[in-house]
């Protein structure tokens, strides 16, 4: 029963993903492709956040740090050398390594303690990275940032789109497999009740730190892709706003659902795009951001568990009702 159900959802995902894979071949509007690319990138980023928040119950207020590490590693290395695939790869690896090390240290330092210490430490570290990027002006250009060339290959809109989408697909299935593996289950148990996990014989530190590292690495990959799509970097990649974006996307989509963050990223980017266009439609929409804020509020009211979470819940509720009503019928007959 279970594996069957799993197969079906994988099928659906594959179907949806392959639809998106085909998009650039018959639809060539760069604005939309760029928007979609951003959705994929932030989808990856939000997904990495969900791994922390949704699956392990760790809150981070500085997730932007990993995003920024990926972004700066690649852009600095490319900028100082040549815009070739080799340096791109090198930059990516450097980003991954730094993100991994930083998340490892942050995890080791605070994950023994109550969860909000991790949140505070990452907030502080992200702040310090921002200061570093600001101060190390010779390399980073400070707050103004700098533009850079990227390998020819990625200058093609379709290539970039496909690269981001393929990264998303690969990472999504990897992360999903992780959450559905025995290890992933332990991680979820940690979210529920840390102390009890220890007393059934799993050492929680390992798992928490591992999730912190995986999540940091995935986030840094999102940062790399972001740079490829923007060809520009500035200190805003370390800003709290970026973390909040991930947080919002994750929550709107549904915490702990993994697809939720992807849908959340899509929803927020699309809503943002079209709502902001409203401004030129009529002056009444000049303050379109209000509508955007209202979207969040309504989302909580109508989808308290996030979109995917609430749908899953309603689904479960319906099948439970069916079951219990059929049971009642059994009793009656």
């Amino acid at each position: 029963m279970r594996p069957l159900k799993w197969e079906r959802s994988t099928g659906i995902y594959l179907l949806v993903f392959s639809f998106f894979l085909l998009v650039p071949f018959f639809y060539d509007n760069r604005t939309i492709l760029f928007l979609m690319t951003q959705i994929f990138i932030f989808g990856i980023f939000a997904m990495s956040y969900d791994l922390l928040l949704g699956f392990t119950g760790i809150v981070s207020f500085g997730h932007a740090m990993f995003f920024g590490i990926g972004a700066y590693s690649v852009s600095v290395i490319i900028d100082r050398n040549e815009p070739t695939m080799g340096y791109l790869l090198l930059g990516t690896i450097v980003g991954i390594v730094i993100a991994g090390v930083v998340s490892l240290l942050a995890g080791l330092l605070t994950l023994r303690l109550k969860s909000h210490f991790y949140a505070m430490l990452t907030l502080a570290l992200a702040g310090l990275f921002l200061v570093l990027a600001e101060k190390w002006r010779g390399v980073t250009g400070g707050n103004d940032g700098f533009t850079m060339q990227i390998p020819e290959f990625f200058k093609d809109r379709g290539h970039l789109y496909l690269t981001c989408l393929v990264s998303l697909i690969v990472l999504f299935f990897l992360v999903r497999r992780f959450t559905q593996s025995p290890t992933g289950r332990v991680v979820m148990a940690i979210r529920e009740n840390e102390q009890r996990v220890e007393s059934i014989g799993f050492s929680i530190m390992f798992y928490k730190v591992a999730v912190s590292v995986i999540s940091g690495i995935v986030a840094s990959i999102a940062g790399v892709l972001y740079i490829l799509s923007l060809r520009f970097v500035d200190t805003s990649v370390f800003a709290t706003d970026v973390t909040l974006d991930a947080l919002l996307m994750t929550i709107i989509g549904g915490v702990g659902t993994l697809v939720g963050p992807l849908i959340g990223a899509g929803l927020i980017e699309v809503a943002h795009h079209y709502l902001s266009e409203l401004a030129s439609v009529h002056w009444i929409f000049e303050r379109w951001l209000i509508l955007f804020g209202i979207v969040y509020i309504l989302a909580v009211i109508f989808f308290p568990r996030g979109i995917v979470g609430s749908l899953q819940y309603m689904w479960a509720k319906r099948s439970a009702k069916k079951k219990s009503s059929s049971k009642e019928k059994d009793l009656a007959s």
């Binding site: 505070m120 430490l121 907030l123 310090l128 919002l248 929550i251 951001l289 969040y296 009211i301 308290p304």
Partner: protein
């Protein structure tokens, strides 16, 4: 010596100001455990409405009362519409309060316009005087005074009444508190309103201090307030006071002695508190 004194006084004043900003959050986030990202919005509304009333009446104390009333009303609205459905659920709180924050700060622009606005202290508090070589800015002394007063009153209320206990109990187990005959909704609403009023008070007091108010001020200071509440030890009023003063002094001294690091001072402070005293400066109550 004069220098130290002057740095200390100014640091203290900044600290007190930060405390005023954080005081409301100590109630709402520390005590009631609501992650209220709209706090900055309440704060900015306090500043704008206060300055507006001041421009209208020319009386600073009326302006303060105006801000407090705004805070109370907005607090009522916020609690009822935004917070009530999401007590106890941090994840939902983040989303809904961030949404509301956007609405609040955009509404601010609708009502008061998008430009920054000047704010001056009333004439009798404007300027400074010198004691020896130490410059004492009048308005800062006033801030220190108000800060101390707010601390004393709130501390007294939390100590001497059951309100603090009830709120803490309500956060731990809402159902049980209700089963004991306490209308916890009402209590939460009142405390939230007071927290909002404190935010608004912080806002209106900040205005003449920095001389200017702008719609984005809310988010900027909310993060600082949040940091203070956490390093103070969640929900501890005394802790917030000390943390705020620590931040104020650190900023002041860092700016003088290691100004290259002043960008990082808050974060460094937070890291050191996390490393050396992870539970916060003070724990729990009071």
């Amino acid at each position: 010596m004069d220098l130290l004194l002057s740095l200390t006084v100014n640091g203290l004043a900044t600290g007190m100001l930060i405390f005023l900003l954080a005081a409301g959050l100590t109630l709402i986030f520390g005590l009631m455990d609501v992650l209220n990202f709209a706090h900055g919005g309440l704060f900015a509304w306090g500043a704008y409405s206060g300055v507006w009333v001041y421009d209208l009446t020319g009386n600073f104390f009326v302006a303060i009362i105006g801000a407090i009333v705004t805070g109370l009303l907005l607090g009522l609205l916020t609690e009822y519409l935004i917070i009530r459905p999401v007590y106890g659920n941090h994840v939902q709180q983040i989303l809904i309060t961030l949404g509301f924050m956007i609405v609040l700060s955009e509404m601010l622009k609708v009502v008061f316009g998008p430009d920054q606005k000047a704010a001056q202290p009333p004439a009798f508090m404007d300027g400074s005087f010198m004691v020896g070589d130490v410059i004492l800015i009048k308005y800062r002394l006033f801030i220190i005074l108000v800060g101390a007063l707010v601390y004393a009153i709130t501390f007294y209320i939390l100590r001497k009444t059951k309100i603090g206990l009830i709120v803490r109990a309500g956060v731990m187990d809402k159902e049980m508190v209700q089963s004991l005959g306490i209308n916890i909704r009402l209590v939460f609403m009142l405390v939230f309103m007071v927290g909002s009023a404190l935010a608004a008070l912080g806002g209106v007091l900040l205005a003449p201090y920095s001389g200017v108010i702008y719609a984005e001020m809310g988010m900027e200071f909310a993060i600082l307030a949040f940091i203070v509440v956490v390093i103070g030890g969640m929900g501890s009023f005394t802790g917030s006071l000390f943390a705020a003063i620590l931040v104020g002094l650190a900023q002041s001294f860092m700016a003088y002695y290691y100004s290259d690091l002043s960008l990082a001072v808050n974060m460094l402070l937070m890291v050191s508190v996390l490393v050396f005293r992870p539970q916060g400066l003070f724990t729990g109550k009071g």
